[in-house]
């Protein structure tokens, strides 16, 4: 599993640009009631995930407890506590995809990447998550890599798709 790199924000607030963006975000939103979700979503956009220091800064900025922020982050599956890969993979386990065998797709991706769902590869290239419906049920089973949707999948198609991303970065 990919852990911290130089730019990781586990102990810090990342690059000076990221820090400035986060602080401006909090400042701009903090007077709006119910702004926590919005801030978390934007912050995840800045950092790719929601590390402790970022959550602490948000808690302090809004005058609420860290446990409250963390409670919201862990409630919603869209929020992530771990860094995402360069290409985040999301395998749909929604009803339509599931009955079409998406569990086998997930298994195939796990085997191919050598990681479990929720983890990130050593080289930081891929991270793997599952989701509930991306709105493409007609194409089930479906997975997303980044913004790209791959439909009508079978386990044997997985390697080829992943290889195309591996090639691209070489």
């Amino acid at each position: 599993m990919k852990q911290c790199e130089a730019a990781c924000a586990c102990e810090t607030l990342g690059t000076p640009e990221q820090e400035a963006q986060l602080k401006a975000l909090i400042e701009a939103s903090k007077s709006t009631p119910g702004c926590l979700m919005h801030i978390l979503q934007e912050a995840q956009g800045i950092y790719g995930y929601l590390p402790m220091q970022v959550q602490k800064t948000i808690a302090e900025g809004l005058g609420i407890s860290l446990s409250e922020v963390y409670g919201v982050v862990t409630f919603y599956s869209q929020f992530s506590l771990t860094p995402k890969g360069k290409h985040p993979i999301s395998v749909c386990l929604g009803t339509a995809c599931y009955v079409k065998g998406s569990d086998k797709i997930l298994e195939a991706v796990e085997t191919q990447l050598g990681i479990k769902c929720g983890e990130c590869t050593e080289d930081g290239l891929f991270s793997l998550d599952s989701c509930r419906c991306v709105g493409a049920c007609g194409l089930a089973p479906v997975m997303m890599i980044g913004e790209e949707v791959y439909g009508k999948l079978t386990p044997d198609k997985v390697k080829g798709i992943l290889d195309s991303y591996r090639e691209e970065t070489k």
Binding site: M52, Q55, K56, A59, E60, I64, S65, L66, S67, E68, V69, Y70, G71, T74, F75, Y76, S77, L81
Partner: protein, 574 residues
């Protein structure tokens, strides 16, 4: 009256103020509706589904604790549908609950157990979730057992009400559990150890870290001399553990019971409350006269001190340097008392009985040098008395042991919000004006969250504030920092109502807690004792006079500073 609503609960007509809930109305109709997640003044979210009732105009069952009454409403609380729903909810909770009920701290005093019996539940009706998690043993004051937790969130509400927020719900759905952010242990979190979560918990998921076995071992050790001292508020609550009415002062029986635990001596912690006042009043006057950091905050409450160190380190210079009465007693016993009686301090085992869980942490602070060997809560003392087979209610009243027996009423009221302030004012006023007569500073009494008063002493105006509950302390700090309020002296107690409502006090059934104001009744027992005491000012206690004559010289002197004062360390946390 226009603002009254008429309704029927189980066909009983009641009239309640608009805005009341069905639960409020039921209480007036003398109908009990079961609750688990509801706790008066602390938590009301309607999540446990125990209080589901049938009400006209509502679709399906509604949660009585949050559902507002309306004109002409007819409520049924005891239908087949209600009972079945409650029973299923209980059986679902039981499928996940670690049922170590035989030896659980809360056995016989557990809301889940009581309701499971009342509803004739089958604990094994549903498939049992046997996944177990390690206990959180990180803190010297609280033990958390996630597997007994029923996710009622009362502890979360209590912690949030303290403006600490060390714990909250984590995750979603079946996986949801209570914990600190990032699954931190309590000791790493912003927890201050006040223990309000323990007294809020309906089951045995939270309890104090007990040191009873160490105390028994010391009592059995022929090399050790064991001395106990009891905090002011313990006498006002210990009786509850033996089914005496709330607010019964059991001082005499408490002393007799401790004496029967073994070869021990029993001292009165009110003495070091008096000593604290001598030092604190002197410090206050010094600060006023020398232009020191103002306002001065009291420092008797270790949860409050931890709160300042973690959340408001900028306020540390405002904290009085006086140790708490517990630590003053520890210091006094391990120096003066040992020297006077030719005891090697290593052979003296000091046990404090306190209403508080944070005191367990306080006595482990490195700068306290282990002067108090064990701090046990009122609950732990009650358990020791029961273990020893002592028939508490039949005991004669006995007096504390000398040389630490005779205290002032000022020392006794330390256990209630406003008590430290009043005791300090009694002495400080006399120090400034030898003819100052007032002893009853009634404006700082009572259970209001924040109390303010102004007194004129020797041509000086002294502005004081008293707050209990850390959220109220937070308000006071904000008001001071923003310049909105100006005070000279501020008393803070972390627990709402002060030590009488501390995290180490007996946990009473919800049926009692939801109908009585415990903090008020318990405090009254202390004020009654103060009123009866001929000695009202701490300075009038003959023990205090002896201590200064024989050992400390004068309040605020060199030896006092060595034994009776301390320092604080910033430990900022989010």
């Amino acid at each position: 009256m226009a603002d009254m609503i008429n309704l029927k609960i189980n066909n009983i007509p009641v009239s309640v103020p608009a805005g009341s809930t069905i639960l409020d109305a039921a209480r007036i109709a003398h109908v009990e509706i079961p609750t688990l997640c509801y706790l008066k003044d602390v938590a009301c979210v309607g999540s446990c589904r125990m209080c589901l009732v049938e009400a006209t105009g509502a679709r399906g069952l509604v949660a009585a604790c949050v559902y507002p009454v309306s004109e002409g409403m007819e409520v049924q609380t005891n239908t087949e549908k209600c009972r079945k729903s409650r029973k299923t909810s209980l059986e679902l909770m039981l499928s996940k609950h670690k049922k170590e009920c035989l030896a659980c701290d809360r056995a016989g005093n557990c809301e889940l157990q009581r309701l499971s019996v009342e509803y004739n539940c089958d604990p094994n009706r549903f498939e049992q979730d046997t996944e177990r998690h390690p206990l959180d043993l990180s803190a010297p004051y609280v033990v958390r057992d996630r597997d007994k937790c029923i996710n009622c969130n009362r502890c979360v509400a209590a912690c949030k009400k303290q403006s600490v927020g060390a714990i909250g719900p984590i995750g979603r759905g079946y996986a949801v559990h209570i914990g600190s952010a990032f699954e931190m242990s309590l000791m790493e979190s912003v927890c201050v150890g006040c223990g309000q979560c323990i007294v809020a918990c309906p089951v045995g998921a939270l309890k104090e870290r007990t040191t009873v076995d160490e105390v028994w071992a010391a009592i059995a050790d022929p090399q050790k001399k064991v001395v106990f001292f009891t905090a002011p508020s313990v006498r006002a609550t210990l009786g509850e553990a033996f089914d005496l009415p709330v607010g019964t002062n059991v001082e005499g029986k408490m002393v007799a019971a401790i004496r029967r635990l073994g070869n021990v001596e029993v001292f009165n912690m009110d003495i070091t409350a008096d000593l604290t006042i001598m030092e604190e009043a002197t410090e206050l006057i010094n600060r006023i006269q020398t232009g020191g950091v103002m306002p001065m905050f009291t420092s008797c409450c270790p949860a409050w001190v931890k709160f300042v160190e973690q959340k408001h380190p900028e306020m540390i210079p405002h904290l009085s340097t006086c140790k708490s009465p517990q630590e003053m007693f520890g210091g006094l016993l391990k120096t003066y008392y040992c020297e006077k009686n030719g005891i090697d301090p290593k052979d003296l085992y000091v046990v404090s009985v306190i209403p508080c869980t944070a005191k367990k942490y306080e006595c482990k602070r490195p700068e306290m040098n282990g002067e108090v060997d064990a701090a046990i809560t009122t609950r732990e003392l009650a358990r020791m008395i029961k273990t020893a087979g002592i028939c508490f209610k039949d005991l004669p009243d006995e007096a504390f042991d000398d040389p630490f027996a005779t205290c002032s009423g000022g020392g006794t009221i330390f256990g209630a919000t406003g008590g430290v302030m009043e005791a300090a004012l009694r002495v400080a006023a006399r120090m400034l004006d030898g003819n100052f007569e007032l002893v009853d500073f009634t404006k700082v009494r009572g259970t209001s969250p924040i109390k303010e008063a102004t007194y004129n002493v020797a041509g000086k105006t002294i502005r004081v504030a008293v707050a209990s509950g850390l959220a109220n302390a937070e308000t006071v700090i904000k008001n001071i920092q923003s310049g909105k309020k100006h005070y000279d002296f501020v008393e803070i107690m972390a627990c709402p109502g002060g030590c009488v409502n501390g995290g180490g006090q007996p946990t009473l059934p919800d049926s009692i807690r939801n109908s009585l104001d415990l903090k008020d009744l318990r405090a009254k027992a202390l004020y009654k004792s103060d009123k009866k005491n001929k000695l009202r000012r701490s300075s009038e206690s003959p023990v205090i006079e002896t201590l200064y004559n024989e050992y400390f010289g004068a309040p605020g002197g060199e030896r006092s500073h060595k034994v009776l004062h301390t320092h604080y360390k910033a430990d900022p946390r989010v």
